[in-house]
Symmetry: C2
Subunit: 344 residues, 2 copies
């Protein structure tokens, strides 16, 4: 396992040029924009060299060719993660992860096949010592700001110890990256009273109570939007279903509005008038605006973007990676995980 | 355990007059409305006789005093269910459930303490032979109609056999009550591919495959709103978090709209114009319009309403109970559970 970065050197970020539905265009344009705006980090692009060069020249961008890491293969969005990693050792995801594993870079940013990026991060880059399960989060908007939900799909069948790890890592991330001092941490549950819930949450609650985290106990499904806790932990099975359910609610509302608009000209005008409000009210649900989803518990920085990531989303992901490096997030997580290694 | 009703006699429905935030008014007005509109069933009101009589006379309603079942005590909304059942043997919920257990009625309708009604139904009225866990559902709107989600909170830490039971009972309910012939059944999961998911869903999927149910396999969180399956089964821990999460999404949207409206007069007019659309688009999320949530797996009919049930909601619950009786739902569920008793 690699040593944990403890220096204040420039962050070296590898962006998967081939990742995402609009690759390589969006990945390249977004990451070069971030690079030019910030100037603080080193940028590498991994993927098919010719394609990358084409995008750079046809968009009048400038980029150091020596920072292109060639990778012949591409893991497609539909491929089975672990199988794809084995079958495509020369893919941008595998080549990028190995480059980082070998100590040549500090962060990986990809809008490619989520499962493959998670698997490559876990299996190739490796976990922080003491972390049983890495965790991925999304930031949900709420009435007072945001709430970071861990885990939303990296791990299913989590054990109590894993929920504790999500709480530790989520707390550090939320304090350092969202600037919320001593963030409140809750466990997603079916009731607020102590002792409520399933076997997992009851046991996890006992563990988290023994930490110095700002633990507020059980929270319910609607608390995510109330601001009851800054960090909410749950098994990845539930978290993943929840975020897809949330997307589904919004799709259905859009669908209903469209139906309503089609009924008459007056309705159409009404819906047209409110469209900007709807967009405004809903944009927080799009996790691209929060700079992708961090995969915590990995020995280096790993940020995963939505397949449909825009250049702006990619830019935010790259800037977020740099911020995580500057804040020494990996080092802090490692330290805290070690501190609570006795809790099992 | 009582025998399963197999006759076509009039349904005898007991309504908890004391249940709900607006009791006894809403429960009494709603159930008498149902009684007068339908004329098909016998109605009993259980609760504090004087209070019931007061509401009847002050609202100029007519009701046979012999059909009032006196119950001195009231289980409040915040009380712990099993404890409350023990401490208040003369509560409307306990008296009503015992009246049904003793063969005097066929259905219980209450908008009272959900946990207490579930516990009284399970412990006093009793389960259908072969049912390990009763299940409660909500009907979610989708692009093509509705989707019934089982379980939304009756049982946590479900075993594979329980998910099978939810699928069997949910399928029968959806066919008989929603009129969907041979309804499609899915398992809520984190991916559509076979073999995806956690230990529970993988094992439950193997069981459900062996039935004659119209099983479509795994469905994801957003499928609830797409119409991918008419019946979706999940552990009650997830189902409960999901419905509260859904309520939370809508609350947040309302909150955001309110904020937007407060910013300027133009915004206020825009939001005012669209308010009726919002209401229209959202009303399906209110499970009162679907006549409460049926608790299936109980040896008699049991329907639980939201605490804030309106008279209309109560009316729909009572009519639903009558319909379930006419369709011989308990008998059909019992038969199907027996048919699949070898699957474990």
């Amino acid at each position: 396992m690699d040593t944990i970065p403890t220096n204040d050197s420039k962050c070296r970020i590898v962006v998967d040029a081939m990742g995402g539905d609009f690759s390589p265009l969006n990945a390249i344009v977004g990451s070069i924009q971030a690079y030019e705006e910030s100037g603080e980090f080193e940028l590498y692009l991994v993927g098919q060299t010719d394609e990358i060069k084409n995008v750079i020249s046809s968009n009048n961008l400038s980029f150091d060719n020596n920072k292109i890491l060639h990778a012949d293969e591409v893991i497609e969005m539909g491929e089975k993660p672990t199988q794809a990693l084995k079958q495509k050792p020369n893919s941008s995801i595998v080549v990028g992860a190995k480059f980082i594993r070998d100590g040549n870079a500090d962060a990986f940013v990809s809008a490619g096949n989520t499962g493959a990026v998670m698997a490559a991060s876990t299996l190739i880059i490796g976990r922080i010592s003491g972390v049983g399960r890495p965790t991925i989060s999304v930031s949900m908007p709420n009435e007072t700001g945001i709430c970071n939900l861990f885990d939303v799909g990296a791990s299913v069948d989590s054990k109590p110890r894993h929920l504790l790890e999500y709480a530790i890592m989520g707390s550090i991330y939320t304090e350092e990256i969202n600037g919320i001092k001593n963030p409140t941490v809750g466990i997603l549950n079916v009731g607020e009273e102590e002792g409520k819930g399933n076997e997992l949450t009851v046991a996890a609650s006992e563990l988290i109570k023994k930490t110095n985290l700002n633990f507020v106990g059980n929270v319910e499904g609607n608390d995510i939007f109330k601001g009851t806790a800054n960090v909410i932990v749950c098994d990845g099975f539930i978290g993943n279903i929840l975020i897809k359910f949330g997307e589904g609610v919004l799709s259905l509302l859009k669908h209903r509005f469209k139906d309503y608009a089609s009924q008459s000209l007056t309705n159409k005008i009404k819906v047209g008038l409110i469209r900007s409000t709807m967009r405004e009210a809903m944009k927080d649900f799009d996790y691209q605006t929060h700079g992708g989803a961090p995969l915590l518990g990995i020995n280096k920085i790993s940020i995963i973007g939505h397949g449909s990531s825009t250049p702006k989303a990619i830019k935010n992901m790259v800037l977020r990676a740099n911020e995580m490096h500057k804040k020494k997030l990996i080092e802090k997580i490692s330290k805290s995980i070690t501190q609570y290694s006795n809790l099992k």
